[in-house]
Amino acid sequence: MSKQRISFSDLKTLVLPIGFVVFTFLFGFVVVAPKAKEIFVLNRRMKEQKEELFILETKIETLSKLASINLKEKLELSLKALPAEISVPLVMSTIEQIAGQNDLDLKSFSSGDNFVFECVLEGNKSSLESFFTDLDQSLPILTTQEIKLTDVEDRLIKAEFGLKAFFLDFEEEIKASEKVSLLSSEEEATLGELEKFTFFALPALLTPVSTSASGRTNPF
């Protein structure tokens, strides 16, 4: 049996195919691999872009629906219920007005710790009952902490009670991560409930500030 040897002429015939293979490998490493990597990165980026696009589309759709309802009015109502800061004159004026409309005598009003106001009222039982019912349905929201009643004279009751006032800072900026959604039925229900409440606005100062001939404000 004769042994097969690869001759030089055989190798010469294989040079081109081998060259092709080597070139293909080199080409693969230098060009195709980075391109494949680029495709991988691009694919990932596209996925993120599509997610961002979906979020933006949903957000715009939600916002266009929200823009069609009167948000400003609702926000004003919520601010009446839960102001950005506690106004002692407003709380006092609310108590005074409710007490006044129920023929009660506001004996004392003082502010304590943790936004709790101490009040003392005097009047008859039915007036006090109406007072607390009205207070329960008034804005800004004030919650009764504790009530103490003492019999003063015939049919005259002294009511000492604590009222807690609430506030929520007004944020001017919203974080990019904050998601906006349509008002839920619960939120709508809360706003509907607030619409039934009475807001006792701070009475406008009727006394004009006197100014001197020079135009300067008279401090006295």
């Binding site: 015939t13 495709i39 696009l53 823009a67 926000l75 607390f132 944020e171």
Partner: protein, 179 residues
């Protein structure tokens, strides 16, 4: 009749022809392999181009939507503030309950002719000291206090911890409701 071919070439020359054929076959296979590789590469290039175009288009859409979003900036802020505030309000209202009116419901349930001497009411309990002319009326009041009413008021227990005879002849009764 079957013809039998006779190879007149010497053995070595025949071997060379076979090798040449095999080499050519290998060459053709490699060539086609390379062609397929380049075709695939062309496909990759095409896909890359398509992705780039698609990405550019999405970028453009995102930009347009962001511009649109600017128009809704105020609505977004209002909605965000409103929802945050309404959430807080809901929590306060739930916690608040009907403390004041509930108190007066209890007072209105006192026996007729009862005069409140002193009363205290908080989230945990209500204590009322009232004067009645007969002890019976106070006892009847507690005995007949409707269970349903107590549940409506959120009360768990009702009792008369103190009954004292008054100097004027009546009774001072202390009523306690635990919530």
């Amino acid at each position: 009749m079957k013809r039998k071919g006779i190879n007149f070439l010497p053995d070595k020359a025949r071997l060379q022809t076979v090798r040449l054929k095999e080499t050519k076959k290998t060459g053709v296979a490699i060539f086609f392999g390379v062609v397929i590789f380049f075709l695939l590469f062309a496909g990759v290039l095409g896909y890359n181009f398509y992705l780039l175009e698609e990405s550019r288009e999405i970028d453009l859409q995102v930009l347009t939507l962001k511009q649109q979003l600017e128009k809704y900036r105020e609505t977004e802020l209002q909605a965000f503030l409103l929802q945050k505030r309404v959430g807080e309000i809901k929590a306060i209202l739930e916690k608040k309950g009907d403390f004041g009116p509930k108190w007066w419901q209890i007072v209105s349930l006192l026996p007729s002719g009862a005069e409140i001497q002193e009363a205290g009411f908080d989230q945990e309990k209500a204590e009322i000291v009232f004067a009645v002319s007969t002890y019976q009326s106070a006892g009847d009041f507690v005995d007949n206090f409707p269970q349903q009413k107590l549940e409506e008021l959120g009360g768990k227990e009702i009792s008369l911890p103190l009954v004292k005879k008054n100097e004027t002849g009546g009774y001072l009764v202390s009523l306690k409701i635990i919530f």
